[in-house]
């Protein structure tokens, strides 16, 4: 068995350990109300079990990381699969650090599912080791990517604590306009998370069925000399095509649920065959996510926020507020170092300029400006608590867009590490 194969096994072990750790954290928190037990004792015991399990998961994850590094000869942060698994690992590291300061099992109940989702999301992407192109082969790249991801991981923990704060303090029975609005947006945040789960579920379900479709898009370009060159781009769908690429022809198509052909075509401004595929993926995520959300609503018969809210009773919201702020404050210097300073050093070495307003660079700067605005807001009266919890939640959306969205939507220098 090669090292790379071994590392894949370690990865699967880590994934399951994370899932179990999540369950144990839930037991530690939700089980406090079970009869015939002392709530404090229960939380302490199960909290320890959960923390040991999640630490074993992290150990296994680290094993995956280093054996894959040894096996492939290059640091596994070079494609989307490797980067997302690394981000998941970084979140666990950040969680472990924050947990060791505050010792609140509740934090695990929210950080673990975040890790599980990100790790599962990583598995959607091709997992084979790809050789690096020369521009990426540098020491500073490794330092830049890993440090930036660690900083982002602290923002992720800040996000988890912020969301917990909201679930704790929002009045889910309130009928005022203010309460209704908070309820809606908390529910919307949860729904967005479920959409990502829906995406993962859809991809794995159709991959399991072995679904395939293929389109070809012909594009003619007239260059400066007046010569017309036609290029054709083929694109493989692994999800049944609801939407086909703009101006494309079917190469291969399997009917799905009586759908004999794609329902519509991507609009003209969605250039390139791949944007059609991406739009199709987004549609499927919405369908699968909404189905999942609908099922959960049917099962609980009330909004998900209201389902989670009672679990949070007895938690001190001030602690959550402080944990959220603290994680972000810890992560900010790391992020600055990794995503801006190391990135500039590397860019200077690789491209001879430390800053080029490349979309990925700009978005890293946006993230940094966003969080510096957050830190300054904390200095002002009236911005602690609820508003800053919202800022922490939105901030993580900005982080995710920088990491994934830019690669999906905007092309740039970093796009070769793309999907």
């Amino acid at each position: 068995m090669s090292l790379v194969d071994f590392s894949s096994d370690a990865f699967i072990v880590a994934f399951f350990l994370y899932c179990f750790a999540f369950m144990f954290y839930v037991i530690a928190i939700a089980g406090k109300k079970w009869s015939n037990r002392d709530p404090l004792q229960h939380e302490k015991r199960w909290g320890r079990v959960a923390f040991i399990t999640s630490s074993l998961g992290l150990a296994s994850h680290l094993t995956f990381f280093f054996t894959r590094w040894a096996g492939s000869g290059q640091i596994p942060t070079s494609n989307m699969y490797e980067f997302m698994t690394f981000l998941g690992m970084a979140i666990m590291i950040a969680f472990t650090i924050v947990y060791s300061i505050y010792r609140k099992p509740l934090l695990g109940m929210f950080s673990l599912p975040l890790t599980v989702i990100i790790v599962a999301y990583a598995s959607v992407f091709p997992q084979e080791v790809q050789p690096l192109i020369p521009a990426l082969n540098n020491y500073w790249l490794k330092v830049h990517v890993t440090t930036a991801a660690l900083g982002e991981a602290f923002f992720a923990v800040g996000f988890a604590a912020g969301l917990m704060y909201l679930l704790r303090v929002v009045d889910f029975k309130g009928k005022t306009k203010e309460a209704k609005r908070s309820q809606f947006w908390v529910e919307f945040s949860l729904y967005s998370i479920i959409l990502i789960v829906g995406f993962i579920v859809a991809v794995f379900a159709f991959r399991g069925m072995g679904y395939e479709a293929q389109f070809v898009q012909e594009k003619s370009v007239i260059d400066a000399k007046g010569t017309e060159t036609t290029t054709s781009e083929t694109v493989d769908y692994s999800l049944p095509p609801i939407v086909k690429p703009y101006n494309s022809d079917i190469v291969k198509y399997e009917p799905f649920l009586g759908m004999e052909q794609p329902i519509f075509e991507a609009p003209y401004w969605m250039n390139g065959a791949n944007s059609g595929r991406k739009l199709n993926t987004v549609l499927w995520s919405i369908i699968a996510g909404s189905l999942l959300y609908g099922l959960l609503r049917l099962a609980f018969r009330k909004p998900l926020g209201a389902v989670i809210h009672p679990v949070m009773e007895g938690v001190d919201p001030d602690d959550l507020d402080e944990i959220s702020y603290r994680s972000i404050a810890i992560g900010f210097p790391i992020f600055t170092l990794g995503a801006l300073i190391f990135a500039m050093i590397w860019a200077n070495i690789a491209w001879g300029r430390f800053w080029g307003w490349d979309p990925k660079e700009v978005w890293a700067l946006i993230t940094w400006l966003y969080y510096s605005a957050y830190l300054h807001f904390r200095l002002s009266r009236g911005w602690q608590g609820r508003p800053s919890a919202w800022l922490a939640v939105i901030g993580f959306v900005v982080v995710l867009f920088t990491l994934v969205g830019v690669n999906l939507v905007i092309a740039g220098l970093h796009s070769y590490s793309g999907v």
């Binding site: 790809q130 400006l369 300054h376 905007i410």
Partner: protein, 554 residues
């Protein structure tokens, strides 16, 4: 009219206007003395410069930029506008000559046209974006100066015995009844705090314990770094401080770097690809470059540099094999490997002239594609260059023309004089490449003369071509060292401010009644457990959470 505010504290200290807490004893100076809410401890309650009464114009500008609220607005505006610039590719991402006024509309339709018209196609060079950066810089300078000086004064002359209201209205408060000697208790408690790294100042039964004051300077050091960084970036617009251009050099050629005195020679360009077995299944059969390298020589021109009529005199200054990440560096000038082109390019041929009737051969002579000699003498024949095309084509009007300046399909027209030819000379068309000779039917164009003479190349050794061209990126950035210095300052400041917290504990014992207040600029959780821990050590058990006096976590 001006209302004269009484800013003298009951302890006798004269405070300046805008002071929240007496600079000496810490007594709150607000009017509602009955309030028991936690105090606003920012900048230790000292007056900032911006809180001057009766401001003039400069004060008003100062006040505007000294506001944190304005600073936040500036940050938010900056990142919102930065977002706009990522919607479509920016103009500078296009290396080749392209026309932005057409490109955006053609590619993206109406939104693209508007994008271009609003200047968003070069967002980061617009006056308003640079203006925002300058305003952030101004705000950084003024915000910092406005606060750091008063804060420094306040922290360097702290009174140990604070007003009771000051202690009771801290965010972390503990009250207790002490039995026994007050001074002894204070000493014992002070010893515990000392073990946790506090510096202890005592005055009878009053105590001030302080640690990590340096972390208060973190944000200001960070801001100094950011100011340096911004200045360095603005300095790049000084002429000659920054250069960023691209050059293409075929194998063996020497090319001048525009606007400089430097010439670069590409002695040999090599590219190595990943072998099939190194590639995963999906990428097999594709050419994925593993390593590309330019053997480059940098020359400096020493004389007749700008004289078009003379050949410049070059002096070798540096020799380096350029690969990605390993540029050629010379006095701040850097040549980076950017890309390459493996289309072979014809540089020169060494053809011979054959008299078809006698079979006599003359030559070979040297015929470079570019800048060929105008006159060649071969035995009894003379060749005068009449015209020379790089990429020969017949234009719309039927006249010969050239499509580009690269020798893709070179062609020469000579006026040939010699035995058996018209004494005034006869035109002869010569295509060095076999494919063009056939494509444009050289013999048919030349008709009559084609039976008498022929210009041809004998063997590949007489063909000189470049296998590849290398694309180099020429860069120069004199602001760079300042950028790094700024980044280092900024980082040190951030670390100081984020990972250490300035903590202070005040206590006084009045008639056996202990009043303890504690303040930190971050991490109240840690502050409370530290106080609770020290109390625990001298026999008082208290839940850290109970020390919380409410109020906000700043």
């Amino acid at each position: 009219m001006l209302v004269v505010e009484n800013t003298k504290c009951e302890c006798g200290h004269q405070n300046s206007v805008g002071t929240v807490l007496c600079e000496s004893c810490g007594k709150p100076l607000e009017n509602n003395e009955l309030s028991d809410l936690p105090l606003e401890m920012r900048y230790d309650g000292v007056a900032r410069r911006s809180q001057k009464s009766n401001p003039n114009l400069i004060d008003k500008i100062w006040n505007f930029f000294s506001s944190v609220k304005i600073a936040i607005y500036l940050i938010v505006f900056t990142f919102l506008t930065a977002m706009l610039g990522t919607i479509y590719p920016q103009e500078n991402t296009f290396v080749n000559n392209f026309d932005p006024s057409v490109y955006y509309e053609e590619t993206y339709g109406l939104p693209g046209k508007l994008y271009y018209l609003f200047g968003l196609s070069h967002t980061y060079e617009t006056w308003w974006f640079i203006g925002l950066l300058v305003m952030i810089g101004t705000s950084l300078v003024i915000c910092s100066l406005d606060r750091v000086l008063p804060l420094y004064r306040a922290l360097s002359k702290q009174q140990i015995r604070k007003h009771l209201q000051f202690i009771h209205r801290q965010k972390t408060v503990y009250k207790h009844t002490i039995d026994g000697d007050a001074e002894q208790w204070t000493e014992k408690f002070g010893a515990q705090l000392k073990r946790k790294g506090y510096r202890i100042h005592r005055e009878g039964s009053a105590l001030l314990a302080e640690k990590n004051r340096f972390s208060r300077w973190g944000p200001y050091i960070n801001h100094i770094g950011l100011i340096l960084f911004l200045l360095a970036i603005l300095a790049r617009s000084i002429p000659d401080w920054q250069m960023d251009s691209y050059i293409t050099i075929p194998d063996g050629d020497t090319v001048q770097i525009a606007d400089t005195n430097y010439f670069v020679k590409n002695e040999k360009f090599t590219v190595e690809y990943y072998k099939d077995e190194e590639l995963p299944a999906k990428l097999k059969g594709t050419a994925r470059a593993k390593l590309f390298e330019t053997k480059a020589v940098l020359y400096e021109c020493v004389s007749s540099c700008n004289d078009q009529t003379q050949k410049p005199v070059l002096k070798e200054v540096k020799r380096h094999n350029i690969i990605v990440n390993e540029p050629l560096k010379y006095k701040g000038l850097k040549l980076y490997q950017f890309d390459f082109d493996t289309t072979p390019r014809l540089n020169a041929v060494h053809p011979i002239l054959v008299n078809k009737e006698t079979g006599e051969k003359y030559g070979p002579f040297d015929l470079p594609m570019k800048d060929s000699a105008l006159h060649h003498k071969l035995g009894p024949y003379t060749l005068d260059l009449y015209a020379n095309y790089m990429e020969f084509a017949i234009g719309d009007n039927g006249e010969p023309t050239t499509l580009s300046r690269d020798p893709v399909a070179p062609a020469f027209i000579f006026t040939v004089k010699g035995p058996g030819l018209d004494p005034k000379g006869e035109p002869y068309m010569y295509f060095p490449m076999q494919k063009d000779k056939v494509k444009f039917s050289q013999d048919a164009i030349n008709h009559g003369i084609a039976d008498k003479i022929e210009i041809r190349v004998d063997g590949m050794e007489n063909v000189d071509f470049s296998e590849a061209s290398t694309y180099l990126n020429v860069r120069m950035d004199k602001a760079l060292p300042y950028v790094w210095i700024g980044a280092v300052f900024s980082m040190i400041g951030l670390l100081m401010g984020s990972y250490w917290q300035h903590r202070r504990i005040w206590l006084r014992i009045d008639d056996g009644q202990l009043s303890l207040g504690a303040h930190t600029n971050k991490n109240w959780y840690g502050m409370r457990s530290e106080v609770a821990g020290a109390l625990q050590k001298i026999g008082i058990t208290v839940d850290p959470k109970l020390l919380d006096n409410g109020g906000n976590n700043a």
